[in-house]
């Protein structure tokens, strides 16, 4: 049974997307000499060639992980914005494992992924532990830890695994046994996609079908109620952060093992913050995450094609993107319209009764 509320949420999101596109078009009209062409690139660009479709898909893989990670934390009522640092550190640990432990094919990549999960989980556990034990605000601690793990990761790579032969601050090239293989040539879509799908299934089953997921949701909905009913809120906070961190760690591993095959980030990649946008769009539901991630990656990809192919400047493209995301994530959007529908439904129901 699909509830009225779900239909409304979907409808509202679709209308928001249409409005956002319209607004994007208006802005393009104002700034471009060739608005129709530019808009065409923006809207259909990502689908025009196999390579572009591949670019779109490969760009959704890390945000699926971070979107799931943030959703799990949000469902537990933890405003955790540490996915950024967790994924960065996950990528670092995956690099270290790949370079330090020569292992046979398949085993090597699995161990590297596992290392990334452990790295992310450790980074996620710290704010969880601090919250559970001392009541430290996880928003602040997870945000601050982003920079700690960012610098720690850079230190490890630059001072211990840096490839002096490369022209930039990057690690040694990873051995092929540790790669997430490309399976749809000529694109770079890699095995990480399957890992992402598995993570979606895991999160859905965990949150909605296990007692730990139940405890997690109840804690998120009303932690006083959870404590009253005998659920250990402390345990929930810690394990939700550990799982969230582990999944975020996979996002880093996906790009390092799947795309670059060496560690080359010098800045935080931004997937963690994308994860927040995706979690909000997906209303924290694991099955909504891939859709939201595809949507976000599509806008990103279309925008970058537009800026490459037309006279719309990169800055303007970023502004259009930002406005679209803002519109789509605005929760109160169209609430008046919704309220009228609710009034109609309620009064009609009474007449029939």
């Amino acid at each position: 049974m699909i509830s009225r509320e779900l239909i409304f949420e979907i409808g509202r999101t679709l209308i928001a997307i249409l409005l956002a596109l319209l607004l994007g078009f208006v802005i393009i009209l104002l700034v471009s000499e060739e608005p129709f062409e530019a808009f065409g690139h923006f809207v259909t660009g990502p689908l025009t060639t196999t390579r572009r479709i591949g670019n779109w898909i490969e760009a959704t893989i890390p945000p699926i992980f971070t979107g799931l990670a943030v959703s799990i934390a949000f469902q537990a009522g933890q405003f955790n914005i540490g996915a950024e640092g967790q994924l960065f550190f996950g990528g670092v640990v995956a690099t270290i494992v790949a370079l330090s432990f020569p292992l046979p094919m398949y085993v090597h990549v699995l161990v590297a992924l596992l290392g990334a999960m452990v790295g992310g989980a450790v980074a996620g556990a710290i704010p969880g532990f601090m919250k559970a034990k001392w009541g430290a605000n996880e928003l602040v601690s997870s945000l601050m830890l982003n920079y700690v793990f960012y610098r720690l990761g850079l230190y490890l790579i630059n001072h211990h695994f840096r490839d002096p032969a490369a022209g930039a601050m990057v690690s040694y090239r990873l051995p092929e046994t540790s790669w997430l293989q490309w399976f749809w040539l000529p694109t770079r879509v890699h095995w990480g996609l399957w890992v992402a799908l598995a993570a979606i299934a895991f999160c859905y089953l965990f949150v909605y079908r296990t007692r730990w997921g139940y405890a997690l949701r109840m804690t998120g909905l009303n932690k006083d109620f959870a404590a009253y009913a005998g659920i250990s809120v402390t345990a929930v906070i810690i394990y939700s952060q550990v799982i969230s961190g582990a999944i975020a760690g996979l996002a880093g591993a996906a790009d390092v093992l799947g795309l670059y095959r060496r560690f080359q980030w010098q800045m935080l990649p931004g997937y963690g913050f994308d994860g927040i946008i995706i979690a909000i769009l997906a209303r924290n539901h694991p099955l909504g995450v891939p859709i939201a991630a595809l949507f976000l990656a599509y806008i990103r990809s279309g925008a970058s094609i537009m800026s490459r192919m037309t006279d719309v400047s990169a800055e303007m493209v970023a502004i259009i993107q930002g406005i679209m995301i803002l519109l789509v994530t605005a929760q109160a959007f169209l609430s008046k319209w919704r309220h009228r529908a609710v009034v109609k439904e309620a009064t009609k129901h009474e007449v029939n009764a």
Binding site: Y214, L221, F225, A226, Y228, T347
Partner: protein, 517 residues
């Protein structure tokens, strides 16, 4: 429109965002100079109607006329300036300020730039004398009793020129003596030409002081009657739509083994102020022990300590002979301690979760409901359906989110979960607060039923009727101490109980000790 009405609300319709039709074309009118009762079950729409009047909610349809003129109230400030005052159920006072400061807040008399303290005091004294509502203008609100705080609330409205006063369940927090005093004051206000809307669940009070009564049910207006022409039974029939039996019939108690033993329990605030002082009592299987007392005398802390939500600073707690002082809620529940919390929305439910999910919160780790990894969704759904049926929860299905239910039905969800946990003791804290007559009747019946099946029941309540009619034995708590014990609740009079609740009368220590042993 009819000119003689002071207030006329026409066709008020209000739908809340969650789809609840709180008011459905309600027509409500009040004559000048009358005390008009507004009664109805919880969720009948009384509070919503008054919120519309006071500008706290915008109606989706309907018009309000005040003194014959169309009134479009957009905010409480607007309502106040039009001469409408509201005394909320939960007082809106600043506890750390004095009575005078609270009263003149926002309309302070000034001398130059400075606050004119003397004029302010004089204003308050004059007002208090004029309406015969005695308050101490210099006392801080946190130091004065509940009854006086309420007078401050009423004076606050009068000072701002209120001619029409809305009183939302004003007697819910008062002792019988304070209630009497309030009624005298309301009579005086009426004599001086004020009009009042009196919202209450207590029909005897409605009968006692009101001129007319408007009954609401399910968001609609059911009828308006002259109070002198109807009985309490008539009103409750209109409210509920059927006959209600509030008289509790129960067999004599058959006390068995001691289930809960509390010895010298003490609890202090972080500043060292005592909240509970050497509290000792015990509850046996098959009996209902009532603890009466004005709210805020340590009851909330006591219950939280007994259920593992709070750690005591001294004393011992045993459940069925096992020492359980400072146990966790999980450990308490494993020994069969069921808990109906005083604030159902804070502790009792996760409002956004479904009914069936709320019904398994305490038993999620049991093998009936979970396998090694996955939950048994079929068993959970069955449990939900069964309990919804057994406890008469009015809902579309067990999958409905709890937030869509009325207060009484939410409480039934809590009661259903706690009673079905095969408890050895049920600790019920204000189990019927703010629920409708039908639900009260049901919950009382269930409490007696489970007790007589051999379960110990500890009932904490500020509602005298409830605590007297449901309990077998009775204790009175005042200032964090047990000040009176009555081995037979049925022979205690309301006045007697009220005097103990106010700390005016105390039992001899030796007598008390014997009764509590």
């Amino acid at each position: 429109m009819c000119m003689q009405n002071l207030l006329e609300m026409k066709g008020i319709t209000k739908v809340y965002p969650n789809g609840v039709l709180a008011n459905d074309k309600v027509d409500f009118s009040v004559l000048p100079g009358e005390i008009h009762a507004l009664v109805g079950e919880n969720g009948a729409g009384k509070t919503t109607l008054m919120k519309v009047l006071f500008g706290l909610e915008t109606p989706d349809a309907g018009e309000v006329y005040y003194k014959g003129e169309r009134l479009q109230v957009s905010s409480p400030l607007h309502a106040i300036s039009s001469g409408i005052g509201m005394v909320h159920q939960h007082f809106m006072l600043a506890p750390s300020l004095t009575v005078t400061e609270n009263l003149v807040l926002g309309a302070e008399p000034r001398k130059g730039l400075a606050f004119d303290w003397n004029t302010a005091i004089k204003t308050v004294e004059d007002l208090s004398k004029r309406y015969n509502l005695h308050v101490d203008p210099r006392a801080r609100v946190r130091d004065i009793p509940i009854g006086m705080r309420q007078k401050v609330e009423i004076l606050k409205a009068l000072l701002r020129g209120a001619e029409l006063l809305v009183l939302d369940e004003p007697t819910a927090v008062l002792t019988p003596q304070e209630t009497e005093e309030l009624f005298v004051a309301l009579g005086e206000l009426k004599r001086q030409g004020h009009t009042m809307i009196f919202i209450s669940h207590k029909l005897n009070e409605v009968r006692q002081i009101t001129d007319r009564v408007t009954v609401m049910r399910g968001g609609r207006l059911i009828g308006v009657r002259n109070t002198s022409e109807v009985t309490e039974a008539d009103i409750s029939r209109l409210m509920v739509g059927r006959d209600v039996i509030l008289k509790i019939t129960k067999s004599p108690p058959t006390p068995g083994k001691k289930v809960l033993e509390v010895k010298d329990l003490s609890y202090f605030t972080t500043e060292g102020k005592p909240i509970l002082k050497d509290v000792s009592f015990n509850v046996r299987a098959g009996e209902i022990l009532g603890i009466a007392g004005v709210e805020g005398n340590g009851q909330s802390e006591l219950v939280e300590i007994l259920t593992g939500l709070r750690m005591p600073h001294a004393g011992l707690i045993s459940i069925s002979g096992q020492e359980m002082t400072s146990a966790s809620p999980r450990q308490m529940r494993e020994l069969g301690v069921a808990h109906i919390p005083e604030d159902r929305l804070l502790h009792g439910v996760a409002a956004d979760a479904s009914i069936e999910e709320n019904l398994i919160a305490d038993r999620i780790q049991e093998s009936d409901y979970t396998g090694k990894i996955f939950l048994k969704s079929k068993a959970i759904a069955e449990n939900g359906q069964n309990l919804v049926g057994e406890f008469n929860v009015v809902a579309r299905s067990a999958k409905t989110p709890v937030k869509m239910l009325s207060g009484g039905n939410i409480q039934k969800v809590v009661v259903a979960r706690e009673f079905s946990s095969s408890p050895s003791i049920v600790i019920a804290n204000q189990p019927t607060r703010g629920v409708d007559v039908g639900a009260i009747e049901f919950i009382h019946k269930k409490l007696v039923e489970i007790c007589r099946s051999g379960v110990a029941v500890l009932l904490i309540s500020a509602d005298l009727n409830e605590v007297m009619s449901v309990s077998d034995r009775l204790l009175v708590v005042y200032g964090g101490q047990i000040v009176a014990a009555f081995p037979d609740a049925s022979v205690v009079s309301e006045e007697e109980l009220g005097l103990h609740m106010l700390g005016i009368k105390t039992q001899e220590a030796a007598l008390l000790k014997e009764a509590l042993a």
